[in-house]
């Protein structure tokens, strides 16, 4: 095979893997938007907060230690224990459920029936609040997540492709794990939505929340449920991205990677988030490889993702899998 074709194939595969990571972030947006019509600006910060909390629990950090020490003149930083990764993940899920309850109890309960832009603004406020609380709770230093995820080149793929084509493909083990996790996550979400009572109630609220209310579905409960699910998805995204770069503030900026995915896949479709992620991942990587680096000086990925999404929007304003909104006056 010609060299250029082999390299393109390698870039294509890596684009798919990157797309899965983008889709992981986009999923959280979709869950909340679908059930409540809220575009959750805080999703990226939730991923950061969840990953910081996981690190804090695993390493026995005392939350708000700096504040406590400053107020009481103490020198407390650690509880003195370490929690195994799996138990820490479960505890972090608990924290995210608690967070969802508080968000519902103190913010969105008072905003039911408000314009979408008001709800959106509330999530902006929530994002900044959570950023500050996260810093105060766990500190701003870079945290290394050690949850046992493999990293580095996959030797088998490298060897097999080398034997077959004379060029070994680079695929990161972490990306393979992320793809498997994303597949399981999507399947679990679909099964939950299709076959459980709570899942059906969630879909009912998504279709028509007033009709759902009239048959006794608790809007409060469903919103807490949806925010908890989004919190769980944020934790998964936080673990995957945090393993790449350490847990630090810029983890919250991964939300920027999810926006073109949402525009392309639609804000209301779980499969849309996955397919959108894959298209964006492959599209931006191939564009960078074929045009960006040779002709435009590189670093085209950020803007090309948005351009690709905008091109799709010209033909399908609701996104590839989004629901077509028909409003009659």
């Amino acid at each position: 095979m010609p060299e250029q074709l082999l390299w393109s194939a390698e870039v294509f595969l890596n684009g798919l893997m990157a797309g899965v990571l983008y889709a992981l972030v986009a999923l959280g947006f979709v869950l909340i938007y679908k059930a409540s019509g809220i575009f959750n600006f805080a999703q990226g910060v939730m991923a950061l907060f969840a990953a910081m909390t996981l690190y804090g629990i695993m390493n026995g950090l005392v939350p708000f230690a700096h504040l406590i020490n400053a107020v009481f003149g103490t020198e407390i930083h650690y509880f003195g224990w370490n929690v195994p990764a799996l138990a820490a993940i479960l505890l972090t899920v608990g924290v995210m459920i608690g967070f969802s309850y508080l968000v519902q109890r103190f913010i969105f309960r008072y905003l039911v029936g408000q314009e979408p832009i008001i709800l959106f603004m509330a999530t902006i406020g929530l994002a900044y609040f959570l950023e500050g609380v996260g810093d105060l709770m766990w500190g701003s230093d870079i945290k290394t997540l050690e949850v046992g995820l493999p990293q580095g080149i996959n030797e088998t793929i490298d060897q097999v492709t080398f034997d077959a084509f004379g060029y070994g493909f680079f695929i990161d083990n972490l990306d393979i794990v992320a793809s498997c996790v994303a597949a399981v996550l999507v399947m679990a979400l679909v099964i939950f939505a299709q076959y459980t009572k709570q899942g059906r109630a969630m879909r009912a609220v998504a279709d028509d929340h007033q009709a759902a209310l009239s048959v006794g579905v608790s809007l409060n409960f469903i919103w807490i449920l949806v925010w908890s699910l989004a919190g769980f998805v944020a934790l998964v995204a936080g673990i995957m991205w945090g393993a790449k770069s350490g847990v630090q503030f810029s983890l919250s900026l991964i939300a920027l990677k999810a926006l073109p995915v949402l525009m392309l896949g639609g804000f209301t479709s779980i499969p849309g988030a996955i397919v959108g992620g894959l298209i964006i991942g492959v599209g931006e990587k191939l564009f960078e490889f074929l045009i960006g680096q040779p002709y435009l000086g590189g670093a085209t990925e950020n803007w090309f993702a948005y351009m690709l999404a905008l091109i799709f929007l010209l033909f399908r304003p609701q996104g590839l899998f989004g629901e077509k909104i028909i409003e009659r006056v």
Binding site: W7, A18, D141, I142, T144, F170, S245, Q248, K285, F289
Partner: protein
């Protein structure tokens, strides 16, 4: 009644008046935001050194110092706001720790007669004091760094790099693009092939760049990164099994924050250094006695000895020394920012003086003059030992290639002077 009114009036007047007896050193901090992990040691080191001077010496020349913190979040607009809101307090010198903020402040601070010290960052051609009267970038600039890195590569390649490929992975910003021109000139001079690979902010996703490196197999990779870009780049380099000893970062890509998240895989990574690492200096004895042991350390008090904390100590020491010289030149203790500028221009950091200040062996000696605001332009190469979690200097302080850099500085500063109608000084 009249007496009471007069007392209240006097008290109100005193409260409203600026404190005139302090030497004010503004600190444009970023303890929050995407670069907080780097901003915290920089802010802590700066604060701790001035607090130590107050505790140990009663300030500088008998006048207490005051560090005036303002949070920028590494945001250029906020940085300018911080400048505007603090300059009226008698701020003596601004050290923004951001190339973006520095570029914005150059015309403002010059007009306000306040000096800027952009130590190892900012506008490289500010080294030319004939044009940039109020901007100082001693002891080294980005162009010095590019030249030092190439000199090191030539050294480890046995003196000839004409058959070598060097790739530059850079932050796609004014900062990241600074060394390109110099590297292009050095490529012409030494015959190596240069590949440029831009990474967009914040740099969390760099797969394309490292796949290209894997395909093109450059012999060496240089990095001009900051924040998360550094950790991801080092991780990606490890993933593609790029030899770490051939991967060299600028001095802003060489702190503990950049290598610790990568773990063992970062072992052998190299970075340039403006000063020596560690805590084996006299100044740390005084910091321990007067600050740490008294519980006065800034922030969490957990940054001592890190690369960026040391850099901030160095910056604070240079500022304090310039203030002292300014006091001597003008014969007053309560100096103005304009006098501070004169002190900076007369700075003479000899080895003997560094030793007196507790910085023996910390950094090379240098002298500032009206023409040269950039100091010696020397830097060393340090290497990361992942098991010991320490940086070690592996070279002496290397002088940059002035035959390449000086003409570039003259050209760039002349263009700036023409654009802004600046008449050359120092004649």
């Amino acid at each position: 009644m009249k007496m009471r009114l007069a007392t209240w009036a006097a008290a109100a007047l005193m409260a409203a008046s600026p404190v005139m007896a302090d030497l004010v050193f503004p600190s444009l901090d970023y303890r929050t935001g995407p670069y907080a992990a780097n901003g915290i040691p920089l802010a802590d080191g700066y604060q701790d050194y001035f607090n130590m001077l107050n505790e140990r010496d009663g300030g500088i020349g008998g006048v207490m110092t005051r560090v005036l913190s303002c949070e920028t979040g590494y945001n250029t607009e906020k940085g300018v706001e911080c400048y505007e809101s603090t300059k009226g307090e008698g701020s003596l010198v601004y050290q923004p720790y951001s190339t973006g903020i520095t570029y914005q402040l150059i015309p403002k601070a010059t007009a306000d007669d306040i000096p800027i010290h952009s130590m190892g960052y900012g506008r490289t051609s500010a080294k030319n004091g004939k044009v940039f009267s109020h901007v100082f970038n001693y002891p080294g600039s980005y162009w010095d760094a590019a030249s030092i890195a190439v000199k090191h590569i030539i050294d480890v390649s046995g003196g000839d790099v004409s058959d070598k490929k060097i790739a530059l992975v850079y932050h796609n910003s004014a900062y990241g693009k600074e060394p390109i021109r110099t590297l292009e000139e050095l490529s012409k001079k030494h015959g190596f092939e240069l590949t440029l690979l831009a990474v967009d902010h914040p740099g969390q996703e760099q797969k394309s760049q490292w796949l290209q490196i894997r395909r093109e197999r450059p012999d060496f990779v240089l990095m001009w990164g900051w924040g998360v870009m550094n950790q991801v780049a080092i991780q990606e380099a490890a993933n593609i099994r790029f030899p770490m000893e051939n991967f060299i970062g600028v001095w802003w890509s060489g702190s503990e924050n950049d290598v610790l998240p990568v773990g063992e895989a970062a072992n052998g990574y190299k970075a340039l250094a403006l000063s020596s690492p560690g805590m084996d200096y006299g100044v740390y004895d005084d910091l321990k006695t007067y600050i740490y042991d008294k519980g006065l350390a800034a922030g969490n008090g957990d940054q001592m000895g890190t690369v960026l904390y040391n850099r901030a100590l160095y910056a604070a020491m240079l500022a304090a020394e310039a203030a002292k010289i300014a006091q001597e030149i003008h014969g007053v203790a309560d100096i103005t920012p304009g006098m501070m500028r004169d002190g900076m221009e007369a700075l003479d950091m000899s080895d003997a003086r560094m030793e007196e200040l507790g910085f023996a062996g910390f950094a090379p000696a240098f002298k500032v003059s009206c023409e040269n605001h950039g100091g010696s332009g020397k830097g060393a190469v340090q290497q990361w030992d992942a098991s010991a979690k320490t940086w070690t200097l592996i070279t002496d302080f290397i002088e940059s290639d002035k035959s390449i850099i000086d003409p570039l500085i003259a050209e760039d500063s002349a263009a700036f002077a023409a654009e802004n109608n600046i008449e050359e000084r120092c004649n």
